[in-house]
């Protein structure tokens, strides 16, 4: 298993945001996570990427325990993540944004990094704005940059946080196609998304979280048909 989360628990005072979570992802697998707001989805990402430390439980990645490893160490181990609200380095160019990840996150030399980042920009359709300041990009471009930057660290697993949100249907379809391409390169994907049809176009398996607990897991279509999942998602697109 590439990622093994076992008995993971996180609470802020009396509020439990991750409650005895178990989750595994195999290499090259794509797993989706859905759940209402406040279900603990982003917290789970923060626990995996190292922004937060768990109250209990452990996370193993690629055979080693991540406990105590700072975010930069987890990046170098092969975990890339994107934010729901894109957070590019606004005063750096798009290309420089990627170089940071390639040089510091992947320990590439400058020449290797330039080569690799050029290819990633091309793959994500960002070559035309390579030298623009990241702060000047549109939302779709920012979302693409967010993903490109995660890929620049040559991850084995990318954590995508609501990357399809806020896009038009056309933009969303393009983005889904790109994520599909990334999948084909063998990168494992863990994807939080409210836009369920986008998610279903890519993932192999679906996990449903509610109040920090995993309430369902399995083949996407089957999971969505379970009454308890359906109940949570009444009123939400499915």
């Amino acid at each position: 298993m590439l990622l093994e989360v076992a008995g993971l628990r996180k609470s802020f005072g009396s509020i439990v945001v991750a409650d005895d979570l178990d989750l595994t992802i195999a290499a090259s697998e794509a797993v989706g996570i859905i759940g209402p707001n406040g279900a603990g989805k982003t917290t789970l990402f923060n626990l995996i990427a190292g922004g937060l430390s768990p109250s209990a439980g452990h996370i193993r990645f690629d055979g080693s325990d991540l406990a105590g490893l700072p975010p930069q160490g987890r990046c170098r181990a092969g975990i890339g993540r994107t934010y729901q609200i894109p957070q590019p380095f606004e005063n750096l160019t798009v290309f420089e944004n990627l170089l940071v990840g390639a040089v510091h996150g992947r320990r590439k030399t400058e020449t290797e990094a330039v080569q690799a980042c050029g290819e990633i920009l091309d793959q994500l359709g960002l070559l035309k704005c390579a030298n623009a300041l990241a702060g000047s990009l549109t939302l779709l471009e920012r979302k693409r940059l967010e993903m490109a930057r995660a890929l620049a660290t040559a991850p084995k697993l990318v954590l995508l946080d609501e990357i399809a949100g806020g896009l038009t249907d056309g933009e969303c379809a393009e983005l889904v196609a790109t994520i599909g391409d990334i999948r084909k390169t063998g990168v494992a994907i863990l994807w939080i998304e409210h836009v369920v049809h986008a998610l279903f176009a890519v993932i192999d398996r679906l996990v449903v979280l509610n109040f920090g607990r995993k309430i369902a897991e399995g083949a996407p279509k089957e999971v969505m048909q379970r009454p308890d999942v359906h109940q949570i998602y009444i009123g939400i697109e499915a």
């Binding site: 930069q72 957070q87 620049a152």
Partner: protein, 289 residues
């Protein structure tokens, strides 16, 4: 008229010294958002370090600074890694308190070791050499070197910041600390390197401080004030702005002194006040936040 022109030329040259004082401060603030209240005292400390190396080894201060620079880089690196990184965080107060404490420690430590006697760096004939510009105007070689060094330091820093991987890390970290870590940047180490570089700039500033005038352990805070004013006048986040800020300050002081010698310091502060009133973000602000 000649007197006025002279004041302008001397003011620009003095601005070079203030720019050197300010560049280290600008770098620290730009990369780690650190307001270093010990900056002036660190410059004085470096001046004493150059003084000791020069005296003990019988070297010219220009050579001594080359020897002292790597040592100061190491001290800066260690200071940031061991002490200041622990103080930095969401709360602005701890780094202020720590650097204020550092300022007191340095002043008293220097007093203990070197007494309150004033010293200066000796570099032979170059100290008093000057170049005549025709008319009654002449410029000192040391002030000229000061300005040239300030420009060279800023050019080099811009190359580091905009052309190298570590410079990219500086800018990325300054932009978003959390995301920088997520991209594999070791923030503590990045900050420590930035502080090391700032200390080398401090060493260069100290060299010209010591060549231009006498120094003693208590003059640090006034240098800090000039450095702050230069950074703020120039606008945060731009080294060229810092140079411009230094020059504005130097000009205001020499022109003020030309009008009445008692007005020198005051007119510098007045210029600062005027810039703050008209352009609160400085002349050439770059950082968006």
């Amino acid at each position: 008229m000649t007197g006025f022109l002279d004041a302008i030329i001397q003011g620009i040259l003095l601005g070079g010294l203030y720019a050197l004082f300010a560049t280290g401060l600008s770098l620290m603030f730009g990369v780690m958002r650190l307001v270093n209240l010990a900056h002036g005292d660190l410059i004085v400390l470096a001046a004493f370090a150059i003084f000791v190396v020069a005296e003990r080894l019988g070297l010219d201060p220009f050579v001594a600074v080359l020897l002292a620079a790597p040592i100061l880089f190491a001290i800066g690196f260690a200071l940031q890694h061991v002490l200041l990184n622990r103080a930095l965080g969401r709360d602005l107060l701890p780094p202020l308190l720590v650097t204020f404490g550092l300022s007191i420690i340095i002043q008293n430590g220097l007093l203990q070791m070197f007494s309150a006697d004033s010293r200066r760096l000796r570099s032979g004939a170059i100290e008093t050499a000057s170049i005549s510009l025709g008319g009654d105007i002449a410029v000192g070689v040391v002030p000229l070197l000061t300005l040239a060094s300030a420009i060279a330091v800023i050019v080099l820093l811009n190359i580091i910041f905009y052309r190298t991987a570590i410079g990219r890390a500086f800018r990325a970290t300054s932009d978003d600390l959390d995301v920088a870590q997520l991209m594999g940047i070791d923030v503590n180490r990045t900050f420590a390197i930035a502080m090391g570089i700032a200390f080398v700039v401090i060493a260069i500033a100290a060299l010209y401080l010591g060549l231009r005038a006498n120094f003693d352990p208590t003059i640090g805070p006034a240098r800090l004030l000039y450095a702050f004013e230069a950074v703020i006048i120039g606008g945060l986040g731009s080294f060229w702005g810092t140079l411009a800020g230094g020059i504005v300050l130097g000009l205001a002081q020499t022109i003020g002194a030309r009008i009445d010698p008692e007005w020198q310091i005051l007119s510098g502060h007045l210029a600062f006040l005027v810039v703050l009133a008209i352009r609160p973000r400085g002349l050439f602000p770059r950082a968006v936040d």
